[in-house]
């Protein structure tokens, strides 16, 4: 493949300013290209050199804060995590994430996502004692950790919601992000909150609204698989309805170490003091 090295990249960025009214429209910017440049670098160049009124959200510029999700050439990406070179084209169209509301330009309102995230109780729930007065850790094997580890990497960027065709038409849909988190906590061997969490997703606007288009898992920049999580939740709900569910006891508290090992003897100084 020929090397991609154009002089300039044409950015078409969707602008919308609620204070001026009017419909969102595309605005053209020309940005000089450097090798290794990300879409976010291009937007920062525009903001610094061409139009400082351009609004977008970004913070870590290393794919960990989840604020820079946007639609680049009609596919949701993290702007900081996507090199311009990937597109093999010197024209880029940047729009805000769909299925969320636009606040200004490329900034979308993530409140619906966070409120569904909160709704499914994204924290460990332990009955009786344990959480109020923690004094020891819960035991968990590496195998148990692997059953949910990938779902713990969610950065709440909203890209899966933008990709999901169900989120496009059902505003009450909990969304792949929240349901993946529901699975993450329900599958955690330290957790006892399944009884509280499962009814929240066992609804018309929960897992049963997912028809397995698989777009969320394809688009997720962190390699999570929300589609798999949702199907596993369905499986668990069905198994429980049929009385087949295996209830695992929550993992025990690691007993405090009774005796500490004998102290390692202090090594001699390697450089001897001169007398």
């Amino acid at each position: 493949m020929a090397e991609f090295n154009p002089e300039k990249i044409t950015f078409k960025v969707q602008r919308y300013n609620p204070e001026n009214g009017g419909a969102p429209h595309l605005e053209k910017f020309t940005v000089p290209f450097n090798k290794g440049m990300t879409v976010l670098d291009g937007l920062l160049y525009i903001k610094e050199n061409i139009d400082s009124t351009l609004s977008f959200r970004a913070s870590c510029r290393m794919g960990i804060c989840g604020s820079c999700g946007m639609l680049v050439n009609n596919y949701p990406h993290l702007a900081c995590h996507t090199q311009i070179e990937e597109f093999h084209s010197d024209k880029l169209t940047v729009r805000p994430l769909p299925n969320l509301s636009i606040i200004k330009d490329l900034v979308v309102d993530l409140t619906p996502m966070f409120s569904s995230h909160k709704q499914i109780k994204p924290y460990l729930i332990r009955g009786e004692a344990g959480m109020e007065d923690p004094n020891a850790e819960f035991a968990q094997s590496p195998q148990e950790l692997n059953t949910f580890l990938q779902f713990a990497y969610c950065i709440k960027c909203g890209i899966c919601l933008a990709a999901c065709p169900t989120s496009a038409s059902d505003r009450l849909f909990l969304g792949p992000q929240a349901m993946a988190q529901c699975y993450r906590y329900c599958a955690d061997s330290r957790d006892q909150g399944q009884k509280e969490r499962l009814p929240l997703v066992d609804t018309d606007h929960g897992v049963w609204r997912c028809h397995l288009a698989g777009a969320c898992s394809e688009a997720c920049p962190k390699g999570l698989d929300p589609a798999l999580a949702i199907q596993l939740l369905k499986r668990q709900l069905a198994a429980e309805a049929l009385g087949l569910g295996k209830r695992r006891p929550p993992s025990p508290v690691v007993p405090p170490i009774k005796e500490s090992k004998p102290k390692v003897p202090y090594p001699d100084f390697t450089v001897k003091k001169e007398k």
């Binding site: 509301s101 636009i102 065709p165 798999l228």
Partner: protein, 144 residues
């Protein structure tokens, strides 16, 4: 400062239809919806024809039947049969996968990321081949 509510940007039903750069399963999802709606339409027509037209007497019935032997409508009928095969067999795959079969277990994400559907794409392809063969058999049936 003026306070304005955020501007809605939901794709609505357009979000189902527009499958953009997404991969196979996203298109199968769309086709599943289309075939479902198509069969519903056919069923409504079919039930109307076989009930309402029928009780109106032999003459109405015979003119309808003559209309329906039009080759275009025959082709349409084949499409309904093909839609039935697709909807049924793909539905079977969806039922299996939605209950967590043929999907595998969650694994830690290691770059390059691969989701369960992509890892188990073989099953989807197998099902598509079965659908294709069945559709061909039906086509043979229609022609002969």
């Amino acid at each position: 400062m003026k306070q304005t509510a955020p501007r809605s940007n939901y794709l609505g039903v357009g979000g189902w239809i527009w499958a953009g750069n997404y991969k196979l399963e996203r298109y199968l999802y769309l086709l599943h919806r289309i075939t479902g709606l198509g069969m519903l339409l056919f069923l409504t027509f079919h039930l109307t024809a076989t009930t309402v037209f029928r009780i109106q007497g032999q003459e109405v019935w015979e003119t309808t039947m003559a209309l329906l032997s039009n080759p275009w409508l025959k082709a349409g009928e084949y499409l309904v049969a093909a839609a039935f095969v697709y909807h049924g067999m793909n539905g079977l795959r969806l039922i299996l996968q939605e209950f967590g079969f043929l999907l595998g277990k969650p694994t830690p994400p290691i770059y390059p990321y691969k989701d369960a559907l992509r890892k188990k794409r073989l099953w989807v392809v197998v099902m598509m081949v079965v659908i294709f063969i069945l559709a061909l058999v039906f086509l043979f049936d229609f022609i002969v």
